[in-house]
């Protein structure tokens, strides 16, 4: 028995030694010289940007992944002590939260000028770097095109009970509701959330919602466009049986959410951080969105998006100033409605 114990211990430690060797070339502790990027953007996109930036500028980067809302609150909690230099988000409300706590430095004017005015906040404390559109994904075997709702607001009607799904606990979805709140007001949004609580199946996130629609578990789902386009371009495992419906006409269902980037006021590396933002919005940085298969929209002036997508202009999104997106109010309203 004792001999076997020894063998087991030896085995375990050799695994340890092996992995220690393998890890020697790469670092996994915080690097004080590296640009610290707090990112709730998708890993693949953040990585692609960070690698492109490292290559071009020679500046090392380190990424801390997280989720929009929690990461925004985390930065607020860390306050002036935050190790973050740059904050990247999927949706803008998390960035607005950090801005409201006076933790952002103004973005360099030269960088801001790369983005059209209607795709960034008037404050100039952050900028959009990418965009995604709200869509209705549906399964034609489960619901006919003629039966689809005309507006996102219609989904609260009794005839859509059990007919749609959404990743309601996620920041992605909450940004859509924040858009609705800014566009339609509190009363209508509260009523719609009641309808959501009655009618909708709650899934974990966009991908789970899309998969459920694809599998026929639920006929329709409210998601962002690029999950569908990505799956279509790859295996179609999660979207092969589905189609997209765009609401357009300035409907709350045509809401376009901006992914944001900002530089922290108390950044250790403010200059490097500004350079990173400038890189993301440069032709090369925006090209990553077009060619990497991320299927998110480019936002810089003159940048083109993946040719699979309908153009950003053709989506007829409601005109909403991103500073009006109130994620705190939305979570309160969703809590009141019994969804959170």
């Amino acid at each position: 028995m004792r001999r076997r114990t020894l063998i087991t211990t030896a085995l375990t430690s050799s695994v340890l030694a092996l992995s220690a060797c393998g890890g020697a070339g790469e670092s996994y502790s915080p690097d004080p010289d590296a640009l610290q990027i707090y990112s709730s953007q998708h890993d693949n996109l953040t990585q692609a940007w960070a690698e492109g930036f490292e290559e071009q500028s020679g500046i090392a980067t380190q990424i801390r992944p997280g989720e929009d809302a929690s990461m925004g609150h985390m930065i607020v909690e860390e306050g002036a002590e935050s190790p973050a230099d740059v904050f990247l988000t999927e949706n803008s409300p998390a960035m607005t939260l950090v801005e409201q706590n006076d933790l952002l430095a103004p973005v360099d004017d030269s960088t801001l000028e790369l983005v059209p005015k209607d795709r960034r906040p008037s404050s100039g404390n952050w900028t959009s770097v990418a965009a995604r559109s709200t869509v209705l994904v549906y399964n034609p075997d489960e619901i006919a095109e003629s039966e689809l709702p005309e507006s996102l607001m219609d989904l609260q009607k009794p005839e859509y009970q059990g007919m749609w799904g959404a990743g309601a606990t996620q920041a992605d979805f909450q940004a859509i509701v924040a858009g609705m709140l800014a566009d339609q007001g509190e009363e209508k949004t509260a009523a719609w959330l009641e309808g959501l609580q009655e009618n909708a199946e709650i899934y974990k996130h966009n991908v789970a919602t899309m998969n459920a629609v694809n599998a026929g578990e639920v006929p329709m789902g409210v998601i962002y466009h690029y999950y569908w386009y990505r799956d279509q371009a790859e295996t179609q495992e999660g979207s092969g049986n589905t189609k997209l419906h765009y609401f357009r006409n300035g409907d709350p269902g045509a809401f376009v959410s901006l992914s944001a980037a900002g530089v922290l006021k108390n950044a250790e590396h403010p200059k490097k951080a500004q350079e990173f933002l400038a890189y993301i919005l440069s032709d090369e940085g925006q090209k990553v969105l077009e060619t990497s298969g991320s299927k998110e929209y480019s936002v810089a002036k003159g940048a083109t998006s993946d040719p699979d997508l309908p153009t950003l202009e053709s989506l007829e999104a409601p005109a909403i100033d991103p500073v009006d997106l109130d994620s705190e109010k939305v979570t309160q309203m969703m809590t009141d409605a019994g969804i959170l």
């Binding site: 114990t5 375990t12 695994v15 890890g23 502790s29 990424i63 929690s70 985390m74 019994g338 959170l340």
Partner: protein, 509 residues
């Protein structure tokens, strides 16, 4: 033990209890910061009732299921003439090497419609029943036959003899196992998230996602703490006070195995089913995805962190946590084994409470603490290891307690009376007897730490990714192929530790 060193041990035990309670104090202070009115408004909502119902139902289904499976399997393997008992013995403990959220990923990938209570109960039962099976099997394997025979000789029926002599001796092991299962269920996140089954823990994680350090999340965590205290009280009543250590083995005789006869095929089929559900399905599914990963050319649109690097971080963090947890569990376990008073039991129990909370709650509390008071160790590996320790110290505690029970105080005293010093007596008598349990406890902590998810997500130093977080990131996007290598590595790493534990639980009694 001399008075001064006893005081030292007591002081250490109090310190350990205080450290483990610290995060709960932070959570309580945060939850109570809101006005009583707001607290009541939030807690007295239908949604909270739903969560409470879901959580309680899951515990009430899974814990008895684990008890029946664990005790039943242990009895079949250890006390009957079941064929290939040695194979079953290992196969029934081996599911411990498959992290529960990896098992649920396997199940959901072959059966996408499996969700809700059914899926959650199936996966958690299959993953957790070894917590009952292992300690009960260890007791049954070595149980002295004579009390049963005495009872029979005094006129008891076979069942009554078993009920009155065997069952009381199983109670501490079975109830200890059931306690671990219940605490794990209260804190489980990965499985329930994949199975779309909402409990307090998943709801806390939602609150954390929408607002990081919210009062609401803290309030939910407080309710969860109350549930944990209820479970602890319950287990205390179930455990009873039977002493399991014997001084001198005397005329110890193993009982004759029970003949299964025509029940044999049924027993074999039932155990086979358990092994298929708990082990074969998860492992073959992970293997299948892994094969797909290895055979598809590198068209990966998602750059994943390197497998070796994540393995390295996971292993080193897990070993550090195992060492720290064992060291920290020692004073409390020692006091309890030598002096079983209300006070020492309270010290021991205090260390259990934090473990029923989801890793995210402990993680958040530690972030709050370090950001405000210890910025120097904020986002350092130490704080992550301490977080693991707080979460998993009961595993070390329960094992150490069993080990110390195997080394009754009389033996140490005998060594002392023969002229050995206190250190010598400990080193030469107590330590060899309890070493297997120490290793078992350390292995249990290491396995848990290597596969912990939510605390790791929060506390890991920037740039550190572990097997669990890398796996979760991939499986979260339904990228089964991308997640497979991390899943396989977690199973591979847990395997030697599980083997070690299986061996030790055989020696221990």
């Amino acid at each position: 033990m001399p008075a001064s060193s006893k005081q030292l041990v007591t002081a250490a035990a109090i310190l350990v209890a205080a450290v483990t309670l610290l995060p709960i104090a932070v959570v309580a202070a945060d939850g109570m910061a809101a006005s009583p009115r707001a607290v009541l408004d939030y807690l007295l909502r239908p949604h909270i009732g739903e969560l409470l119902g879901n959580t309680v139902v899951l515990v009430l289904v899974t814990v008895p299921a684990c008890l029946v499976l664990g005790v039943g399997a242990a009895w079949l393997v250890e006390r009957t003439d079941l064929a290939f008992a040695g194979v079953w013995r290992v196969a029934l403990g081996a599911p411990l090497a498959v992290p529960a959220f990896v098992a649920s990923y396997a199940w959901i990938s072959i059966w996408p419609g499996l969700d809700g209570l059914g899926g959650a109960a199936l996966v958690t039962t299959a993953a957790y029943f070894p917590f009952v099976y292992l300690p009960v099997a260890a007791i049954l394997r070595d149980l002295d036959a004579s009390p049963v025979e005495d009872a029979r000789a005094l006129g008891a029926t076979p069942f009554a003899a078993w009920w009155r002599t065997v069952l009381p001796r199983l109670r501490p092991a079975a109830s200890g196992g059931a306690l671990l299962v219940a605490l794990h269920l209260l804190a489980e996140f990965g499985v329930l998230e994949m199975m779309r089954y909402q409990t307090f823990t998943t709801a806390i994680l939602v609150q954390y996602e929408v607002s990081f350090n919210s009062h609401r999340g803290s309030l939910l965590a407080l309710v969860l703490t109350l549930l944990c205290l209820t479970v602890l009280t319950f287990e205390h009543l179930l455990r009873g006070t039977a002493r399991t250590s014997r001084v001198g083995r005397g005329v110890h005789r193993r009982a004759d195995p029970v003949r299964l006869g025509r029940w044999s095929p049924i027993a074999t089929t039932a155990l086979g089913l358990v092994v298929v559900i708990a082990l074969v399905v998860p492992v073959t599914t992970v293997g299948r995805w892994l094969l797909a990963h290895l055979t598809t050319p590198d068209t990966d649109a998602f750059p994943r962190p390197s497998l070796l690097l994540t393995t390295g971080s996971s292993v080193s963090l897990a070993l550090a946590a195992a060492a720290l947890a064992t060291a920290m569990a020692f004073p409390g376990a020692w006091l309890l084994s030598r002096r079983r008073t209300g006070w020492t039991m309270l010290l021991e129990r205090a260390t259990y409470v934090a473990s029923s909370l989801p890793g995210a709650v402990i993680g958040l509390a530690m972030i709050t603490l370090t950001v405000s008071y210890l910025p120097g160790i904020y986002q350092s590996p130490f704080i992550l290891v301490l977080g693991y320790t707080i979460l998993f110290i009961p595993r070390a505690m329960i094992s150490l307690r069993a080990g110390l029970a195997a080394a009754p105080p009389e033996l140490g005293e005998a060594a002392r009376s023969l002229g050995t010093g206190p250190v010598g007596a400990f080193r030469r008598v107590v330590l060899p007897l309890m070493l297997p349990s120490v290793l078992t406890g350390a292995a249990l902590v290491a396995i848990a730490a290597a596969t912990e998810l939510t605390a790791t997500l929060l506390l890991a130093p920037t740039g550190t990714s572990t097997l669990a977080t890398a796996f979760w990131a991939a499986s979260d996007e339904f990228d089964y192929v991308g997640a497979a290598p991390y899943a396989a590595m977690m199973i591979l790493l847990s395997a030697p530790l599980t083997v070690l534990m299986l061996r030790q639980s055989g020696i221990e009694q």
